[in-house]
């Protein structure tokens, strides 16, 4: 009887201790959950910049963003990457205005179109927010500086490459991203100037792709239907080249077609490897992004920066691939 009572007590006590321990453990777990919820220190930063691209999900602009982010990390800058989902001037301008209303420390943006952009950039500068144009300039505005390719030059070297790579009569069609965008205009202008003196080369059509791949393919199809004699294409924005290539392959005319594209996005490189695209103009978006942030930091520190900063542009062919070796070659001396 006494032993039974003792066993009962011992079991009861063990049960109590076990339950109590479990309860404490779960209480801790419960607190852990709520702690996690409130954790997270807001990082501190020196400056708050906004980078507004013409289009958010664009491989080319993603590279600009990458460069900018790397520089931002180095200089303790909070960098926002905000822009239209699809290329759209109104939305682009709105983002700039929002950034102005948000009183950021500096704005990095594409210039795009001088007439529409200049008033907005000027009003931002009036509010005391410095603006740097990236990739495309808005030269008539009060922007502090421009960093990016010399677009006229890049169009010009594309034309030169066409002349070098082709023989005989060439009917070239141009598909440009936008008729309004100044950098596109400059590229087309540079290209035109390069081939002007050569009689054998004739520009047969110019169409606008609104920098979408589908539109580019559509326009290429239109050109080829209207002008079957076309035997060369020049795409002046990043997606034009692959759009053209798609149509050309679809119509099975890749063997007799010379295509020169713009920028080194992955699809373009792949088409180059297949031999569909013959050459492309290589810009340096990473450098642009990186240096734009560094320049903005310099401005914030009250120092002056040169107004025009051109980054390198060059034409590459299939033989220059892969890209990594080009970049390495380029970086090693500097």
């Amino acid at each position: 009887m006494i032993r039974l009572t003792r066993v009962f007590y011992v079991i009861g006590f063990i049960l109590f201790v076990g339950l109590f321990t479990a309860a404490v453990v779960y209480a801790f777990k419960m607190n852990e959950v709520s702690k996690k919820n409130n954790s997270g220190i807001i990082p501190s930063y020196k400056y708050h910049f906004v980078l507004v691209p013409e289009e958010m999900d664009n491989d080319y602009w993603r590279l600009v963003e990458k460069g900018a982010k790397d520089a931002a990390k180095k200089h303790h800058v909070l960098l926002e990457y905000k822009g239209p989902k699809q290329s759209n001037i109104d939305e682009h301008l709105k983002e700039l205005k929002i950034a102005g209303a948000s009183r950021v420390d500096g704005i990095l943006t594409q210039g795009y179109n001088d007439q529409q952009f200049s008033p907005v950039i000027d009003s931002l500068e009036n509010k005391g927010i410095p603006v740097i144009t990236v990739d495309t300039d808005a030269p008539s505005s009060n922007r502090r500086a421009y960093i990016g390719s010399d677009n006229y030059y890049s169009g010009f070297i594309a034309g030169k490459a066409l002349l070098e790579d082709t023989k005989g009569k060439v009917n070239v069609a141009i598909i440009t991203g936008s008729f309004q965008a100044s950098h596109q205009q400059l590229r087309v202008q540079g290209f035109k100037d390069a081939i002007r003196r050569e009689k054998r080369v004739k520009i047969i059509a110019i169409e606008e792709s609104k920098i979408t791949r589908i539109r580019a393919a559509e326009k290429a199809n239109k050109i080829l239907t209207e002008h079957p004699e076309t035997n060369a294409f020049f795409g002046t924005s990043a997606l034009d080249g692959i759009g053209i290539a798609q149509t050309v392959v679809h119509l099975n005319r890749q063997n007799s077609m010379y295509i020169i594209a713009f920028d080194t996005i992955e699809d373009t490189i792949n088409d180059m490897k297949k031999g569909i695209i013959n050459a492309t103009v290589m810009q340096e978006p990473y450098e642009m992004g990186y240096h734009s942030v560094e320049m903005m930091v310099t401005i914030e520190e009250g120092k002056r920066v040169p107004e025009i900063n051109y980054t390198d542009t060059r034409v590459i062919h299939r033989s220059d691939l892969p890209i990594a070796t080009i970049e390495q070659q380029k970086r090693s001396p500097s």
Binding site: F13, A22, K29, M30, H48, I98
Partner: protein, 483 residues
């Protein structure tokens, strides 16, 4: 000694404190969950309120500029103030790691909006048309950005709310588990304590009542009840044990007394049987003695007188204690009678310490022993023998020694006697066998009476050897007068 009351109070305090602590903990935890839920909800409300106030502000500004009614200006200022206050709440209530970028922009936008709208209204009051229209437009633009950003912030909140909700339900799950576990742990602890404490009180009582029942049924001799607690029950148990011991002693005393009474009654009965008419016999013996004296036979007279005095002593109330002196006188009379009978064959010697003659002694104790010595010792011995009675003091005790040089006892008889002396009962019929005594009182009866009279077992010593005689030694306590 910890009192039962203290124990109970302690138990209740532990119980109340424990239960309350657990209840409080659970309550505060659930409160915390509710608070968090509330806070998350407040964020939505705050954002919503800000967007509404932004709208109101634009409306009021518009209305004021169009209608120039100061009432609108007043409302404009009031809304402006409220919006500013809400803006200040943003940092502490809404900002976190996931939305700080948007929130910083949002706050700055609000600031721009508030500033622009204020400047617009001021410029309007100063009739500065150019400025007010540009600031008015700017403010209106900014308000639309604010509304948009509000939507996107609310969207973000909703997205993170999913995560928050998951956490909350996880927390709730843990909370329920914790609550159930805590409550069952406390329940078990309380049960153990309750059983232990109630057992601590009822078990000794149960044991006590069992023992009491046994006692009331007459079973006095039980083991002592063990004390397990240190409270009032310990006292009760100990007292109970003591009481039982006392009762046992009392009962034993009563038993002894009743046995003594029984023995005396037995003697009386025997005496009555023997005394057909003792007074008649006694008177007749006196007459014969007188007659013998008148007829000139002094020897006869003396003998008869001895018989007469022996008889008289025998007739007196046996309950009444006698003195040593009276006992010795009776013995002497008895001896005289025997000497007349046996003549020179026996001799009787006495060595008596006269100082203790008044010591009380049960009646008829000495005579049966002397008689025993005659019957079993010297009577059947043809060459005769001697009996010596000596009384002396030693170490506050009086020794009465009866020594004979008769036949002695065999070891069997002696063992039987000693067994009896040590408290073992003899068979009844054996007692009857031992008749032949003049008084009908046997040695055993004497010893028993002595033991009861003095309340001591050790009253007699017997030394004996076959053919060499017996020594019978009585040890009695001396009384104050003779020690």
């Amino acid at each position: 000694m910890i009192r039962i009351r203290t124990k109970l109070i302690l138990y209740f305090i532990i119980l109340v404190v424990l239960v309350n602590a657990v209840a409080f903990y659970l309550y505060s935890s659930s409160e915390q969950i509710m608070r968090e839920y509330d806070r998350s909800f407040q964020r939505f409300l705050l954002l919503n309120e800000i967007s509404q106030q932004t709208n109101t502000l634009v409306e009021k500004m518009n209305a004021y500029i169009v209608e120039k009614d100061p009432a609108y200006l007043h409302e404009f200022n009031a809304t402006n103030k409220k919006l500013r206050a809400n803006k200040k709440r943003l940092d502490s209530e809404v900002e976190d790691k996931s939305n700080y970028v948007d929130l910083t922009n949002y706050e700055n936008m609000l600031e721009s909006f508030l500033d622009d709208s204020y400047i617009a209204v001021s410029a309007f009051q100063n009739n500065d048309i150019n400025q007010y229209s540009s600031y008015f437009n700017e403010a209106t633009d900014t308000s639309s950005y604010i509304l948009e950003t509000t939507m996107s912030l609310i969207n973000q909140e909703l997205t993170s709310y999913q995560h928050f909700y998951n956490q909350l339900s996880k927390r709730n799950y843990y909370y329920r588990l914790t609550a159930v576990l805590f409550l069952s742990a406390v329940f078990i602890l309380c049960t153990i304590l309750a059983i232990r404490i109630s057992g601590g009180i009822t078990n000794p009582i149960k044991r006590l009542s069992l023992a009491a029942k046994e006692i009331s049924a007459g079973h006095l001799s039980g083991e002592d009840i063990k004390v397990t607690s240190k409270d009032e029950l310990k006292l009760l148990t100990e007292t109970f044990n003591q009481m039982r011991k006392n009762i046992i002693e009392l009962v034993n005393e009563i038993k002894d007394k009743s046995e003594l009474d029984k023995l005396l009654k037995e003697l009386e009965l025997k005496n009555l049987q023997n005394q057909i008419n003792p007074h008649f016999l006694f008177n007749t013996l006196n007459n014969i003695a007188k007659m013998a004296y008148l007829e000139g036979a002094p020897e006869t007279t003396r003998l008869i007188e001895s018989v007469s005095s022996l008889l008289r002593y025998n007739l007196e109330n046996i309950d009444k204690p006698s003195t040593l002196k009276d006992e010795i006188n009776v013995v002497k009379d008895y001896f005289y009678i025997q000497q007349t009978r046996f003549g020179d064959r026996i001799s009787f010697y006495t060595y008596i310490d006269e100082s203790c003659m008044q010591v009380p002694i049960p009646r008829l104790t000495l005579q049966p022993i002397i008689e025993n010595a005659f019957i079993h010792g010297v009577e059947s011995k043809e060459e005769g023998g001697s009996i010596t009675l000596s009384i002396f003091k030693k170490a506050e005790q009086i020794f009465i020694e009866v020594v004979d040089d008769g036949l002695g006892m065999g070891p069997e008889t002696k063992t039987r006697l000693l067994n009896y002396v040590n408290g073992e009962d003899l068979h009844k019929n054996e007692q009857h066998k031992r008749s032949g005594h003049s008084t009908g009182i046997g040695v055993i009866n004497v010893i028993k009476r002595l033991q009861l009279f003095y309340q001591e077992k050790d009253v007699v010593e017997i030394e004996s050897e076959l053919g060499r005689g017996t020594t019978f030694r009585l040890k009695i306590k001396g009384d104050r007068s003779c020690v």
